[in-house]
Subunit: 478 residues, 2 copies
Amino acid sequence: MEQLSELIALVGESHVLAEPALKAQYEEDWRGRYHGVARAVVRPADTAEVAEVVRWCAENEVAIVTQGGNTGLCGGATPDRSGQAIILSTERLNKIRSVDTANDTMVVEAGCVLQVVQEAAQAQDRLFPLSLAAEGSCTIGGNLATNAGGTQVLRYGNARDLVLGLEVVTAKGEIMHGLRGLRKDNTGYDLRNLFIGSEGTLGIITAAALKLFPQPVAQCTAMLALNSVEDAITMLGLARQGFGPALTGFELMARNCLEAVVECYPEQRLPFQGPSAELPWFALLELSDSESEEHARTRFEEVLGEAIEQGVIQDAVIAESGAQSAALWHLRESIPLAERALGTGIKHDISVPVSSYTEFIEQTNAAIQEFMPGVIHVIFGHLGDGNLHYNIMSGQIYSEADLTAKLEQLSNIVHDSVHRFGGSISAEHGIGQLKRDWLPRYKDPVELSLMHAIKQALDPKNILNPGKLLAVSSDSTK
Amino acid sequence: MEQLSELIALVGESHVLAEPALKAQYEEDWRGRYHGVARAVVRPADTAEVAEVVRWCAENEVAIVTQGGNTGLCGGATPDRSGQAIILSTERLNKIRSVDTANDTMVVEAGCVLQVVQEAAQAQDRLFPLSLAAEGSCTIGGNLATNAGGTQVLRYGNARDLVLGLEVVTAKGEIMHGLRGLRKDNTGYDLRNLFIGSEGTLGIITAAALKLFPQPVAQCTAMLALNSVEDAITMLGLARQGFGPALTGFELMARNCLEAVVECYPEQRLPFQGPSAELPWFALLELSDSESEEHARTRFEEVLGEAIEQGVIQDAVIAESGAQSAALWHLRESIPLAERALGTGIKHDISVPVSSYTEFIEQTNAAIQEFMPGVIHVIFGHLGDGNLHYNIMSGQIYSEADLTAKLEQLSNIVHDSVHRFGGSISAEHGIGQLKRDWLPRYKDPVELSLMHAIKQALDPKNILNPGKLLAVSSDSTK
């Protein structure tokens, strides 16, 4: 294959993987849901090599699927089955280029594993707050390409909010040098945010200048028992007012989620007993304090005491120690594993305005029950930033096949309802291939046509992750 | 004029101003530095009328200069002298469409004056934190078109960080409905941030969904006396660590700035006496507390006491009351007026990484003194977000004419130095016409060519604020 020899000349023989056995782990996503075939996996050593590979691909009209840790949930980093595309792995772009504590910034390469980035910040007594389940294997490049969310969004924002500048290889194979560590820079269009969240379809992010924050001195959590989602929303308002930016977590969980956890993991226990344990909703709050754990606990006592008096919450447990805080978080984090006990399921990563959640849940639950009576609703997530997981489980009544047969209709009911309330059908996971064909149903047509115009302008040959996020236009099919 | 009658048919006779006396105030910026001639000033009543006007302009290839409060500093809202463009004034798009306290969002039209937006938030016990000198007359549409900065950036970010969604009229006259009030939404390219900061060259922002915050319970300020910029940077690090997100202001001022203030305004007084008053640098710190003024003062005492012990700061005054806090801020805010006492001046709105400020100031001051010995450096600004005003005043030695004659060379010395340190030649004011032709000298050429590609894709007829921000390409001159 002459073409491969040209790629080998660019990055070296050991970094062009063409053997099926070597390519296999890159051609399938980590959950085994998406399967593709790549011409080869190419692993450039640095930004200059990325640019050379892209120039070669542009000349030869070869599609490029950029892949970081391969931990995505929407198939955005898996090639199609044509065997024509290359997978460009960023795994060798793994340097922490610099940490500047006076400026509170760090420059890292796209292939750095998120946890390595967090640890490099921590080593300098700083916090890089992006945090999510896959942090041990996902890469910062993938986090930025998909604008990852995670558990700290309420306080620190999404991935895009943590970035000051980018280095990007364009579809022409040029290098955009935009690694500025500036918090204020009004010199033209915001290209940084255009590349962030574009899922590898507009350019290849090779490095980023990230914001750093002080480490909180102490953290403290509390678990609340509530009568309704409406009360949870009122409590969120009181917490924002009472704690200001010290409020770093506000998670909502329906009772059946916690019941599933204690059933699956008998070593875990609900912090409530008696009538409080029977209430339908629970919330987990976290404070990050710049004084002390004691100060955080005192703040909790004041604000939660007032909320109990007002009848907004029915009961509250404030963690007495770091270990107790961890146990409360562990309950929340065990839900995704424990919900399997409720049968097979369909998951939805949605957001609607917080003020609409009561109505949204009532109406959507009712529509789902009318369509498929007896399925179980599993509802939990980051109420503080408006992002809930709205899952539907088969329970004991239906088989996996029953549910799978109605998957599309069930998802349409949920997403149509999300759309009616002005929400998003992908709050944090992105579009990839999973949701690509749903997008035209829900996205404003003018936004969609602007997206196509930008794609056409920045990648006219459609070589960057074609068919992801946007459907391929008929005139640019590869 | 047949054409005007067509516009009149769209928006009504009283909203197409063609008489020179009526147009005049729109054709000149508020400082009287930029002068243009417009065919007419058109004042649409709502988004639908904006779209109709843009469609008419697109058909007739008429350029559109969108104008809000006309308070810009770079001539971005002033037409050229050809008399061909229309000015589209957003002044009638002035409705607060909704305030949602449970979701902490509000939807406002582009022509709302910033102070009206702040007050609408305050009426619901919420904070909209964007704040700047022109807030009584600038509009939120202009703030977003230029990504305004202001005094709260350290804590709340720039204007773009306060926006969740936009309604925009495109260059084709289509309406993009993107007024989502969601903190998480990963369904495609970030068009919102592309329009924000594009200075009316990519689309016309007609409304925005804004983020609201809790009102701080108390605020407290302190003034510090320092030996050096380096110490100020160390102090900034200690303040970030000690106060976390409660730190909402960190302003740096050279001694000559404060001396000019007390000379001009004898009723104002420096809070220091004796040797502290003779130190070369001063810093103003502000804490926003969610507990009480007393708590804020106690926090100040702890952290500043430690800093004095470490020798990082030489002296500190903590305000004992709201009135004292206001007096300290008043000193800082009087600098731009008082610096006139130091002669005529050239201003620069710059940012460099905070860690480079010591070296930047030393090297730039030396280069300026070598070029024009005896001019006075006036240096002050938002050190907390890396944005300083680096001004050069004639002092007693030079006349206004002397300085004006060397204006371009002086600015080149400053901006070349900014560029060498990886900084920005426009931290918060934008490009407009003032800095347009400097941009190619400092902007990464790949970024610049991507900006041109996006402009071409979204406004192929180049009717949206042509000649601002980007130089008109030869093939698209109107």
